[in-house]
């Protein structure tokens, strides 16, 4: 195998490992750090996948790293500092359970990807990794109680969609991708404000409290 294929594979493997890091940690700061690492990897990926470096790809890489590895993690770190939450205490599905679910999601993603028609991209790992990132994002989004971890899950979900978009990197217009990045940025910004208000209202970030009626 040539180096030109090794590096994208390695980056994709590290993305999957960062997914598992998010699934397996109780500490929210470690979760956010894993998400930031994933953001950097996502930024590198279009550069190493491309045969030649164009302005489009360079701008995409810089924008992705700046938003996904810089602003969003910083913002989440600010949120947990303001709200003084450190750990995911009791998730709905336990940590071992979610690791096992994550492994199952990985198996499923590879099984589905094997049946999809071949895409234009030469990197065959891209589709299964993007599918598994989406599924693991869903698992984090639905199985955790703290609002911050749910935002992390949402961002992983979005990262998976971004990865899937990379299979079409040549044909998707640049502005569209920037638009998506902006959407996510605004979305997380709003979530941050909501998180802050949940915390002020209930003195905790436990989103299960939102199901109780009170006046």
């Amino acid at each position: 195998m040539q180096t030109s294929q090794m590096i994208p594979q390695l980056v994709l493997l590290l993305i999957v490992l960062s997914n598992f890091a998010v699934l397996g940690t109780t500490r929210l700061s470690t979760c956010i750090r894993a998400l930031a690492v994933q953001g950097v990897l996502l930024g590198i990926l279009p550069v190493v996948l491309a045969s030649h470096l164009s302005l489009h790809i360079a701008a995409l890489a810089i924008g992705t790293v700046a938003i996904k590895a810089g602003i969003l993690p910083w913002f989440l770190a600010w949120a947990i500092r303001e709200a003084a939450v450190r750990r995911e205490i009791e998730p709905i599905v336990g940590f071992i359970g979610s690791l096992v679910l994550g492994a199952l999601a990985l198996v499923l993603a590879f099984a589905i990807a094997a049946h999809l028609p071949p895409l234009t991209s030469s990197e065959s790992l891209l589709v299964p990794v993007s599918l598994s990132t989406v599924m693991i994002g869903f698992i984090v989004l639905t199985s955790r109680r703290k609002a911050v971890t749910q935002v992390v899950g949402y961002l992983m979900l979005e990262n998976g969609i971004y990865l899937f978009g990379l299979t079409q990197a040549a044909s998707v217009p640049f502005l569209l991708e920037l638009g998506v990045l902006l959407d996510v940025f605004v979305g997380v910004f709003i979530m941050g404000i909501v998180v802050f208000h949940i915390n002020r209202e209930f003195d905790s970030l436990d989103s299960a409290r939102l199901t109780e009626l009170s006046d």
Binding site: L10, L13, F20, I96, L99, L106, A114
Partner: protein
């Protein structure tokens, strides 16, 4: 079966007690202390061998048989393992199951000897040891399955020998995942830091140390030597996956063996100086994570 398989076995048997010393020394240097000499375990074993053994009146022959069975089964595992990266002293198809079974037999004998004393501390340690083994063994077998898939060989000598060298360029990524998983298993199986603290002095927090609390004299020497041999075997496993040596000239492959084992021990020391031990309830999570890594490797190989 050739002379270098025996030479590699002899080298491993001789340097095994130095490995815990290297790990402790690394940890001491990194945390700014001087630390015990690297050869401390040799001195300890020599000291213990000259002493008499004390047996509690509640113990039976199970307790006396324990250390011997532990050492014998680990020696058997070492005979099956291709320490020079080429060929083991003995090999047969499916000997990887025998390897895992011998390691498990050693643990079983140790746990029985611990339970035989009737001490509640040792029973607690035994229960923890077995609990963690329940999670570690499936992960070990997942690693073996990945290696079998990568090389198409069913014996340890085959899958860590020439076939591995041939397959490395194609399967680098899954093999790296397997090596990571095996390193976590090394830490768990040998009671190193994120799972157990070899330097602890509180019975309630010990796992391995508490089981051997009642052993003394030559019995303890056998157990100390056996556990250093187990560390050497797992280090050789990690090293065997990472550095396929089958294509190298024999003298170089033999020289690299102690260097590689020493480097894995240094890695253990680095992990120990960087991490606190995990809460007992978090350990299964670590081991399931190691299993997930190996499973990911398998998926990549099956693709």
């Amino acid at each position: 079966m050739t002379w270098h398989a025996f030479a590699a076995l002899a080298i491993t048997l001789i340097i095994a007690p130095a490995l815990p010393g290297i790990a402790t020394k690394t940890k001491s240097v990194l945390t700014g202390r001087r630390g015990a000499p690297v050869l401390q375990l040799y001195f300890d074993i020599w000291k213990l061998l000259r002493k008499g053994a004390v047996y509690s009146t509640t113990t039976t022959w199970v307790f006396r048989a324990g250390p011997v069975v532990v050492l014998a089964s680990l020696l058997g595992a070492a005979v099956l393992f291709p320490l020079d990266g080429r060929e083991a002293v003995a090999r047969f198809s499916g000997d990887l199951v025998a390897f895992a079974a011998l390691v498990a037999l050693a643990r079983f004998a140790l746990v029985l000897a611990g339970l035989d004393t009737g001490s509640s501390f040792e029973g607690m340690g035994a229960s923890r040891e077995v609990t963690f083994a329940t999670f570690a063994e499936p992960a070990l077998f997942l690693c073996f399955v990945a290696l079998v898939l990568a090389t198409g060989e069913l014996s340890l000598s085959g899958m860590l020998g020439a076939a591995l060298t041939a397959t490395w360029p194609r399967t680098a990524a899954p093999l790296l995942l397997v090596a990571m998983s095996l390193f976590v298993l090394l830490l768990a199986e040998n009671s190193r830091v994120p799972v157990d603290d070899p330097a602890t002095h509180l019975e309630l927090t010990m796992i391995h140390e508490v089981i051997v609390l009642d052993h003394s004299g030559p019995d303890l020497a056998l157990i100390l030597y056996a556990s250093s041999l187990k560390l050497a075997l797992f280090a050789a496993l990690v090293m065997g996956v990472l550095v396929p040596r089958a294509a190298w000239p024999e003298p170089i492959a033999l020289t690299v063996l102690p260097v590689g084992l020493g480097l894995v021990a240094v890695g253990v020391g680095v992990v120990e100086s960087n991490m606190a031990r995990l809460r007992l309830t978090r350990v299964p999570q670590l081991l399931v994570g190691a299993g997930a890594l190996a499973l990911f490797g398998i998926i990549l190989l099956l693709r």
